[in-house]
Amino acid sequence: MTSITLPIVKQKVSLSTVILMGLAALGAFVALFRWVDGFSLVSNLSDSRPWGIWISFDLLVGVPISAGAFILAATVHIFHMDKYRPILRPALLTGFLGYLMVILALLVDLGQPQRIWHMMVYWNIHSPLFEVGMCVMTYTAVLFLEFSPPVLEKLGWTTLLQYLRKISIPIVILGVTLSTMHQSSLGSLFLIVPFKMHPLWYTSLLPLIFLVSAIAVGFGMVIFECAMSHQVFGGNVRRDIFEGLAKGMLISLSLLLLIKLGDLIVAGDLRRLFEGSFQSAMYLLENVVGIILPISILLIPKLRKDIAWIFRAALLTVIGLVIARLNIGLVSMAGVPYVPHILELAVTVGLFSAGILAFGYAMKNLPLEEA
């Protein structure tokens, strides 16, 4: 029914599974080493670079690429757009696994990981990180509840399932609220460092930019997953679902472009785009790849109806967000040059691999097509 020209990876699943398992094991080994011996041998973190790739990728990218869960939950359960129901469960699964990976990464990055629960006891309402932490913990619990129906169906625990159905709407609303809060407050984390951050990135609107880009990439990830499951798991996703998601992505990307451009103009920083520094080049890259190219593709009516092009636009949006968040965490910051240690990257890659493995396992073994 479609003209997708993606590589068929079905036959190679066993080989890629072995590779993913190897990467996950390596990541786990490095994490173990960090918990036993500390940071100095496995990371390039330092006093002037206290946050490295684990924060800039695992947290700042991990949270927004899991945003598809709250967007689809809202679309189906709150806006009652029933045509998206078939893809809701895979999106909730990705979200839940994504947040689990974020928490695992934080357990590697924190100096005192055994005290992660302290946030629930020693509050500081003046800290955006407190807000992020509380929301991420609560929202992971919400995602657990939202995602549990297929597991309960598989186990045949119908009584619990019925209780869960009764509270499902308040839970979905709580999930959307918590997501709005922490997707934006991830950006608030950087409001306190105007002295460190390149002016192309520093703006009071960082929370808004973080929220809108998370929504755009949430749509992008759902498109990506639909296309992949279409290929790998033999799913049969309807064309109008792709088109609807692409429309959502186009609207949020356009809004993002307006906010970012408007902010640069008002702040008088437009000329910095062409200052010729490494930072300005990276800033241009994140916006061309992640905003301008996908918008251009989706503005062409013919391409907007072509699933292969919708997929490409989604892929660009996701890659653009990865660049944008790495820019915020690493490139925009003044300080001694930082390049992640190869073993730091091993943790990030290992966690990502573990997430993909868990996703594949769940797709095959759980009833993700809602009855």
Partner: protein, 291 residues
């Protein structure tokens, strides 16, 4: 650049500055009441514990470093930066042509509105009612947001440990006579006292030595909302590694985003509930009107 080698400073001026310094010290010692400071009462800003570092009077003897190490029981180490075992450090700055030289004492600035305390998600860092910014290691989760947030790069980490803690100057807040570093300074380049007294002393030094001090102002009076460590320098503050900050406290930049959190919570929650009801009714109606 010390008093004795500065040709512009006459002997008379030198005496004046010294007297102002001594007078201030005596004044401060009289009015500083450790009992009151530890009583738990919130002290007004002018009564906060403070330090005045006059870079022009510092001879770089580094007695303050030794006193700090000894009071805080820190091992000796050969470093050129603050670190897990170095809470204060004297560095010498020299312009490229060698014409301008100045010492600078590095340590926690004990901000009036500290970014580290505002950013800490578990309130491990906080400002005591009498001024010092202190750290409760038992609360710390090791997120290192304080290190990211501090404009002066003060909080350091003990990277050699598997489960490290933040390490920084706490102004010897348990020491009744005030910070050990100030107590030992032989030249009164570093004096301890009430913030308002020290500001006054600094301004006297500026007024009796017109043109001596950079921009005739005290660093820390307003920077980043004010600090409890005040600095006088004859060279530009940036040249001795002090960041140029406006008078807006850094935590204020985050405040607007945190203030709207309840609004988002109830706003988004309410809006979603409303949309749910509306679209649900529509759905029911459209189902009803269907044959």
């Amino acid at each position: 650049m010390t008093n004795t080698t500065d040709p512009k400073l006459s002997r008379r001026d030198f005496l004046k500055v010294s007297l102002a310094g001594l007078g201030g010290l005596a004044l401060a010692a009289n009015q500083m009441d450790p009992a009151r400071a530890s009583s738990g009462e919130e002290l007004p800003l002018e009564d906060h514990w403070a330090l005045l570092y006059d870079a022009t009077m510092c001879i770089g003897c580094r007695e303050c470093e030794t006193a700090c190490k000894s009071y805080n029981k820190l091992p000796e180490e050969d470093v050129d930066d603050l670190g897990g075992n170095t809470f204060t450090l004297i560095k010498l700055y020299q312009s490229e042509d060698g014409a301008q030289k100045s010492f600078r004492k590095y340590q926690c600035m004990h901000c009036v509105d500290p970014a580290c305390a505002a950013s800490c998600p578990v309130s491990a860092l906080h400002k005591l009612e009498n001024g010092p910014v202190v750290y409760d290691s038992y609360k710390c989760i090791g997120c290192r947001y304080c290190m990211q947030a501090c404009a002066f790069g003060v909080p350091r980490y003990d990277w050699s440990l598997a489960y490290p803690f933040i390490r920084k100057c706490e102004m010897c807040h348990h020491r009744e006579a005030g910070p050990a570093c100030a107590g030992i300074c032989p030249k009164q380049a570093l004096i301890f006292g009430k913030r308002s007294d020290l500001l006054e002393i600094a301004k006297v030094r500026i007024s009796v030595n017109p043109g001596k001090y950079f921009e005739d102002r005290v660093y820390g009076e307003f920077e980043g909302g004010g600090t409890s460590v005040l600095i006088l320098s004859s060279v530009p503050f940036e040249a001795i590694g002090l960041p140029s900050l406006d008078a807006k406290p850094l935590p204020d930049r985050t405040q607007w985003a945190l203030n709207i959190v309840p609004l988002i919570f109830f706003g988004v929650g309410g809006a979603m509930s409303a949309v749910y009801q509306r679209t649900k009714n529509k759905e029911n109606k459209s189902e009803e009107t269907k044959p």
